[in-house]
């Protein structure tokens, strides 16, 4: 067992990269949420209450300032509840809990999901790998938030772009698909919420330099940050 420690550490370059971020203090805590069903509300409330007790919420301005000054200005470390996929239950269940404790979340929205007709949303979730665990909660078949709900969330929380269709972008993804999923998706989101969207988040998160073909679209769209599995990278 002992002989395997160093080779295991060296296998994936990101292990030592993460080690270095932690030593250098360049990290943030994140708690990732997908489905937030009513049955789990008590657990979510315990979690958000604990976040509010021990950690500081993180605004976009906090991140900008942390990158600009390299100094975290609040007494408690920052924590981002990261809420993925734009599910309706994230508005109905998670939002009231966040509001109760005054804690800020970052919502990662696949922006074309909201415009899918209700009758087609089930098919859309199946096709684009958006797993709905308890469809019976919404017998009307609307699993996505509507735009009014997204706008309500946007008042006190960060809205980030999680592609348009919850679409996995590969190195060899066609140009027009990249354009739609990186650029058009952001424009739609910005038009609907009426403010800039600065953060792009891949699916299954590869870091910025993994997909150099996507760089020109990230630049054209005007994103300032790219979030992946293990990193938040400032790109502009």
């Amino acid at each position: 067992m002992d002989n395997g420690l160093l080779p295991a550490i060296a296998e994936d370059k990101r292990t030592l990269e993460m080690f270095r971020y932690l030593v250098n203090g360049s990290y943030l805590r994140v708690v990732n949420y997908h489905n937030t069903d009513p049955v789990d509300a008590p657990r979510f409330e315990r979690e958000i209450a604990a976040f509010a007790k021990y950690f500081s919420p993180v605004t976009m301005a906090d991140v900008d300032d942390f990158f600009a000054t390299r100094v975290w200005k609040k007494d408690k470390p920052g924590l981002i509840p990261a809420v993925f996929e734009g599910f309706r239950n994230q508005h109905d269940v998670m939002l009231p809990i966040l509001e109760k404790y005054g804690f800020r979340a970052w919502y990662y929205i696949p922006s074309f999901f909201m415009d899918v007709p209700v009758a087609q949303q089930k098919r859309f979730t199946e096709h684009y790998d958006l797993t709905v665990y308890r469809p019976e909660v919404y017998p009307d078949g609307r699993y996505a938030m509507n735009w009014d709900e997204v706008r309500r969330i946007a008042q006190h929380h960060e809205i980030c772009c999680h592609t348009g269709n919850h679409y996995q972008i590969h190195r060899d993804t066609e140009d027009f698909d990249m354009f739609r999923e990186i650029v058009v998706s952001k424009r739609v989101l910005e038009e609907k919420i009426g403010r800039p969207v600065d953060v792009f988040c891949w699916l299954y998160g590869e870091e910025y330099n993994y997909n150099t073909r996507a760089h020109k679209y990230l630049k054209e769209a005007g994103y300032r940050y790219v979030v992946s599995n293990l990193k938040m990278e400032k790109i502009g």
């Binding site: 160093l6 080779p7 550490i9 060296a10 296998e11 370059k13 030592l16 990269e17 080690f19 270095r20 030593v23 250098n24 330099n209 150099t212 760089h215």
Partner: protein
């Protein structure tokens, strides 16, 4: 532990290099520039020691090491890396290598041999080629190898492209300049030597991922390897 960790984590390449070493993905290199006849005894001692303790590295060895991830020889590989195309490389150093049957890698600025002999000394300073007074060893002003000498060297050794004019290639240069230094340079070497030149080496340049502006030209030229300060990267 604190101070050590801070130092180790300052530059990301420290842990990258540690990872290469743990993974066995490295090769020894000894860098040479001017190789004056007065230093002949020293070169002999060095190359004799290389031949005793190490295995020379051919292009085929490197290709196979990347393909199989297995170094097939008893002794580790070592590359004598000989920079700038100086006349002394043919007259002095290559002869020592040949005495011991050891393979050298010669990094040549491809347009240097085409500079008229009477202009070569004047060409050096503005192009960052340091003469170290070695023209004193010769009665004529030629300081670069001739194409004929390079052809003879290429029979037993590896010729790599070290830009066209020993230039620093930067992001803000015109595409025509980048093409001349990266693409046309390779074509010129291949045309004169009649062999493939699969390795490009910056004059001062970063690793592949941090040199995005040059990816297009490196691909157009068809290089398979990129050599920078600390790395030899297989890029296709």
């Amino acid at each position: 532990m604190g101070e050590l960790l801070d130092a180790v984590c300052r530059d990301k390449r420290t842990l990258e290099m540690a990872r290469y070493l743990l993974n066995g993905s490295y090769i020894r290199v000894v860098n040479y520039h001017v190789t004056r006849p007065g230093d002949l005894p020293r070169f002999r001692r060095e190359v004799a020691a290389f031949a005793q303790h190490f295995t020379p590295v051919t292009m085929a060895d490197l290709d196979r090491f990347f393909a199989t991830r297995v170094w097939p020889y008893d002794k580790p590989g070592l590359i004598p890396a000989v920079f700038e195309g100086w006349r002394t490389h043919y007259d002095v150093y290559a002869k020592v290598l040949d005495e011991y049957g050891f393979t050298g890698w010669f990094y040549v600025p491809a347009f240097f041999p085409d500079v008229p002999v009477e202009e070569q000394i004047a060409f050096c300073k503005p192009h960052g080629l340091r003469l170290h007074g070695h023209w004193e060893d010769y009665s004529d002003p030629r300081c670069c190898m001739t194409w004929e000498e390079l052809r003879r060297i290429s029979e037993k050794h590896v010729i790599c492209c070290h830009t066209g004019s020993h230039s620093c290639i930067t992001e803000n240069q015109e595409e025509a300049v980048q093409r001349r230094e990266i693409v046309d340079s390779k074509r010129r070497l291949e045309e004169q030597l009649g062999v493939e030149v699969p390795v490009f080496c910056w004059r001062a340049g970063d690793e592949y991922a941090h040199s995005r502006f040059a990816h297009k030209m490196l691909a157009e030229a068809g290089y398979r390897y990129l050599v920078s300060n600390l790395k030899l990267e297989k890029i296709r």
